[in-house]
């Protein structure tokens, strides 16, 4: 019976495509959040597959903290040009200028928390009723119980006690005026699945994921990239190393991995042998054990 065999990646793909089509069918103004990281690139790739030969029937939205790697923005623009996608960009800087968000101070300042303001404002501006994100349940404890369709109240907040049961493949996207949904098509994928899928489908990735030389410094067990807006503490010093990104986000909180991996195969081997979770390298999660959970409740993922 080799005939009816779907490997785990094809089964996950099938499930995610099903979810993406459900979003297009159930919502009037969906949007796909794009961070420039591998998960959102894979999610966009799946969306192109889900609606082929038509174009993806919703825009992408990138909340730009102003602290992105230059490579991320370049990659985003090229990807949109190549695929005919539409990406709306909203700047955290604009929220700060408008007085809607206040910049953090000090050496550990990050705009990660401020993103929430800009994101919720953009959702309001465009009246988006569903925002798809590349979150995966394996990333972090607080996400293990997340639904595919995650209901948010009119303040964009997530109430862990009041989530709808999700059975079989039936998704309930019904909502009242002003409420919206976050949808996570990659819920059941792991970091390994994502890389294997990228290899299997030959999905193009930003150069940041491969080894490159970069000026970095070491803080609280994490390698961070040097940038004009990063301040060194006394005793810290920056030097050039061979590094790659394991996740891509805001420069202020993206931990880099010392690595010489320069092919997808190398990366998969590295992921297979690594003993630290992806989020273990995220500087923002180190702030407290429940950091992620708190940000979710506020309306960030």
């Amino acid at each position: 019976m080799k005939k009816h065999y779907l490997n785990h990646l094809r089964e996950l793909e099938s499930e995610s495509i099903y979810v993406l089509r459900e979003v297009a069918a159930q919502f009037e103004r969906p949007v796909m959040l794009f961070s420039g990281g591998k998960d959102s690139i894979v999610m966009y790739h799946l969306a192109r597959k889900a609606f082929w030969p038509a174009n993806v029937p919703f825009p992408l939205l990138h909340i730009d903290t102003g602290h992105n790697f230059a490579e991320t923005l370049e990659f985003r623009d090229q990807l949109m040009e190549k695929t005919g996608g539409q990406c709306i960009v909203r700047l955290v800087q604009d929220s700060i200028n408008a007085g809607r968000a206040v910049e953090e101070k000090g050496v550990n300042a990050s705009r990660n928390v401020l993103q929430t303001v800009t994101l919720l404002d953009a959702i309001e501006e465009f009246k988006f009723d569903a925002a798809m994100g590349g979150g995966r349940r394996d990333e972090e404890k607080a996400r293990a119980k997340e639904r595919f369709f995650s209901h948010r109240d009119e303040f964009g907040q997530w109430d862990p006690k009041n989530q709808r049961p999700e059975l079989w493949n039936i998704f309930n996207g019904k909502k009242r005026m002003g409420e919206h949904f976050r949808v996570f098509p990659l819920s059941n994928w792991t970091e390994m699945d994502v890389w294997q899928y990228i290899l299997m489908e030959d999905v193009e990735m930003p150069s940041l994921y491969y080894t490159h030389k970069r000026e970095v410094f070491f803080r609280d067990g994490v390698w961070l990239a040097m940038a004009p807006f990063m301040q060194l503490k006394p005793g810290e010093s920056a030097g050039v190393r061979d590094v790659r990104c394991r996740t891509i986000g805001d420069i202020t909180c993206t931990g880099l991995t010392l690595s010489s991996a320069n092919t997808l195969e190398d990366i998969i081997l590295e992921v297979a042998s690594t003993r630290v979770t992806e989020r273990g390298g995220r500087y923002d999660d180190k702030r407290s054990e429940s950091a992620m959970e708190d940000r979710k409740k506020e309306g960030y993922f």
């Binding site: 009816h4 065999y5 779907l6 490997n7 785990h8 990646l9 089964e11 996950l12 099938s14 499930e15 495509i17 099903y18 089509r21 297009a24 069918a25 192109r48 597959k49 889900a50 609606f51 082929w52 030969p53 038509a54 174009n55 349940r137 404890k141 607080a142 293990a144 119980k145 862990p160 006690k161 989530q163 709808r164 049961p165 999700e166 059975l167 079989w168 039936i170 309930n172 019904k174 009242r176 819920s187 059941n188 792991t190 390994m192 699945d193 294997q196 290899l199 299997m200 195969e265 998969i268 081997l269 297979a272 690594t274 003993r275 630290v276 979770t277 273990g280 054990e289 429940s290 959970e293």
Partner: protein, 423 residues
């Protein structure tokens, strides 16, 4: 390793759910599976070591690994379904971890709805208890194809074969009431690791497979329905592009059977017939697609088809009806209203419905039917009849878990309040 990573691209996916009474050792067992299969990362391990120390425990407490949100950590109980992931070179696993607490039947039903297998824990010292029957009943109601009864804490009964055999007999006595297809028994010690991933030296009398070996090898490929032919239309694709001017693609996930170009099909509920012109994906056309693949189908004829319709075969039709009998598990604090109005969601379809009749309720601890009680409170299970405003196109749940399942949604709050399995 070097040559192996491409092999990793070809694993099967097994979804399983776990159930047990509080303190039977479910968290420890899952922690053990993850730990012994090296699915735990160092930073996670450090975090639970820190937490174990804080709680004043000497050895690391594997059960802390599966512990979720802060509110629950504070209350010290898990109250929702949590999904966990691990892989061995043979399979990728998704665990739907559901708490054993009595009022959370709905969580087990939720976790069971997508599972290929159920792992049910029994404390070797207590044997088959009410909760074992309840969990087994839910596994059977939800038609989980494979059930593994893990008799845990064997270390506390001196790894005694007689204890294991007695519990197995106890269980086999109730099994006929439960209508289960494939049941296995494994004696384990989750705490010490015996027969979880590694074979136990303490139970030489047991020559069956370890739990992990079972999970890696139970045959799941035939669990999909390849006998029927069902394609619920999920979304209609109409590219606004010159080169696809007349293209109308029907997107969906195959719910049963295999679909090939040339197949004669009938569209329900309209009854129009046509032939499949192409079965397409982004990666190119397919000669055959099968459940549970997501594909896009085009037809030879231009017929009006929309979301909620179903492609099937004339000689193998699903049922089409407005009067539907189903087993229901009530999920909401507000009890079910007899003659109440709800929205039913079924495949890609949605309709209003009225609860017409309560046939019986099931006492899930004794599996006895109660024909008197009409009240369905949260976590209660029974059989009802509904009438829908429009016909649904369905099969019995026993025949097909996708075309046979539905949920009820409350109109005002939009909450999912009931999980239904069509009889």
């Amino acid at each position: 390793m070097e040559s192996n990573h491409r092999g990793y691209l070809d694993m099967e996916l097994l979804r399983f759910t776990t159930a047990g009474s509080v303190d039977d050792g479910k968290s420890t067992l899952i922690g053990r599976l993850l730990y012994d299969s090296k699915a735990i990362f160092e930073d996670q391990l450090e975090a639970i070591e820190r937490a174990s120390k804080r709680k004043g425990e000497e050895t690391i407490n594997l059960s802390l690994l599966t512990d979720g949100l802060r509110a629950e950590r504070e209350q010290g109980i898990t109250i929702d379904v949590a999904y966990r992931y691990f892989a061995t070179p043979k399979r990728k696993f998704i665990i739907a971890d559901t708490p054993g607490h009595i009022q959370y039947t709905r969580n087990m039903v939720t976790g069971a709805s997508t599972a290929n297998a159920a792992v049910i824990l029994v404390d070797a010292r207590n044997g088959v208890v009410e909760q074992t029957i309840r969990h087994s009943y839910i596994a059977s109601l939800l038609r989980i194809p494979h059930v593994i009864i893990c008799i845990n804490k064997m270390d506390l009964v001196d790894f005694d074969e007689k204890v294991f055999e007695n519990i197995r007999k106890q269980y086999e006595d109730i099994a006929p009431m439960l209508d289960m297809v494939d049941v296995r028994f494994v004696p384990v010690s989750a705490l010490l690791g015996d027969n979880v991933v590694d074979r136990s030296g303490n139970m030489p009398w047991y020559d069956g497979p370890t739990l992990m070996h079972l999970l890696e090898s139970i045959h799941i490929r035939n669990d999909e329905n390849y006998l029927d032919y069902r394609f619920p239309v999920q979304y209609v694709i109409r590219p606004q592009k010159q080169e696809f001017h007349d293209y109308r693609g029907y997107a969906g996930r195959i719910a049963a059977g295999s679909f090939c170009p040339g197949d004669a099909i009938v569209v329900l509920p309209s009854g129009h017939t046509s032939r499949i012109k192409s079965v397409g994906t982004f990666n190119g056309p397919l000669n055959e697609a099968f459940a549970p693949q997501s594909v896009t189908i085009t037809l030879e004829d231009d017929i009006d088809i929309s979301r909620g319709d179903m492609l099937a075969k004339n000689e193998n039709p699903p049922q089409v009806s407005q009067d539907i009998e189903l087993d229901i598990c009530w999920l909401n604090q507000k009890p079910m209203q007899l003659n109440g109005r709800y929205i039913v969601r079924h495949t890609s379809n949605e309709a209003r419905c009225i609860v017409k009749e309560v046939i019986y309720k099931v006492n899930i601890n004794s599996i006895e039917k109660d024909y008197q009680d009409r009240q369905f409170a949260m976590n209660e299970i029974g059989r009802i009849k509904i009438r829908t405003a429009r016909p649904l196109i369905f099969d019995s749940y026993r025949r097909n878990r996708i075309t046979g399942s539905l949920v009820l949604i409350e109109e005002g709050t939009n909450e999912t309040v009931g999980a239904g399995m069509i009889v």
